[in-house]
C-alpha cells in the first residue's frame, strides 16, 4: 500500500472506531443510568453474558486502535528526535496491548463463571 493510502487507512480507521466507541459508551451509560446500583454478583453476571463480553472486547480493541492512531499522530508531529519518538511509540504500544489483554482476561474469567 502506498504511503498516501496508509494515511487514508488510518483516517478511516479513526472514524469507524470513533463511531463504535461512541455508540457503546452512550448505550452502556444510558443502560447503567436506568438501573439500580449493582451488587458484585449482578455486575459479574452482566459482564459474563456473551453479548456483553463480545461487545466489550470489541470496545477495548476499537479503543486500542483509536488511541494508537491518535497518539502516533501526536508523536510524529511533535517529537522530532527519532530515538525518542520510537521509544514513546513502543511504550504506548506496550501499555495499550497490556491493557487490552488484561481486560480480555477479566472478561473471559467472568464469562467462565
Amino acid at each position: 500500500m502506498s504511503r498516501a493510502a496508509q494515511g487514508l487507512r488510518a483516517w478511516l480507521l479513526q472514524r469507524f472506531t470513533a463511531i463504535y466507541l461512541a455508540v457503546y459508551l452512550l448505550a452502556v451509560l444510558a443502560y447503567g443510568a436506568t438501573g439500580d446500583e449493582l451488587s458484585f454478583a449482578q455486575w459479574r453476571a452482566w459482564m459474563g453474558q456473551p453479548w456483553m463480553g463480545v461487545t466489550t472486547v470489541l470496545f477495548s480493541l476499537a479503543l486500542l486502535l483509536h488511541v494508537w492512531v491518535g497518539i502516533r499522530d501526536v508523536l510524529i508531529d511533535y517529537i522530532h528526535a527519532i530515538w525518542l519518538r520510537l521509544l514513546l511509540m513502543a511504550a504506548t504500544a506496550l501499555v495499550l496491548a497490556a491493557s487490552l489483554l488484561w481486560t480480555v482476561r477479566a472478561l473471559t474469567l467472568a464469562a467462565l463463571g
Binding site: 472514524r15 470513533a18 463511531i19 461512541a22 459508551l25 458484585f40 455486575w43 459479574r44 459482564m47 477495548s60 479503543l63 488511541v67 497518539i71 504506548t92 501499555v95 495499550l96 497490556a98 491493557s99 487490552l100 488484561w102 481486560t103 482476561r105 477479566a106 472478561l107 474469567l109 467472568a110
Partner: protein
Amino acid sequence: MFLCIPALSWLFALSLENEQGFQQSLDYLRSPPVTLLSVLLVWSLSHHLLAGIRHLLLDVEIGLEKTAARASAWLVNLGAVLATAGYAVSLL
C-alpha cells in the same frame, strides 16, 4: 485520557475478580483523589466525544460554513462543561 486506560483496565479486572476486589475497586473510585480525577476525565472525554461528533459531521459536509463551524465549536466547549457540571453535581 490515554494514561487512564491502564488504570481503568486494572480497576475493571479487579472489580470482576471477587467480592473483595469489587468492594476494593468501589473504594478506590470513591476516594477523593480518584473522584477528582474522574471529573477531569469526564470533562476531557465529553469534550473529545462532542468534538469528534462535530468532526464527523464536518466530514460529511454538515456545518462547513464559517458561522456554523464557529457556533458548533462553541457548542462543543459549552456542552462538555455542562456535562461535566452535571456529573459533578451527581457526585454530591
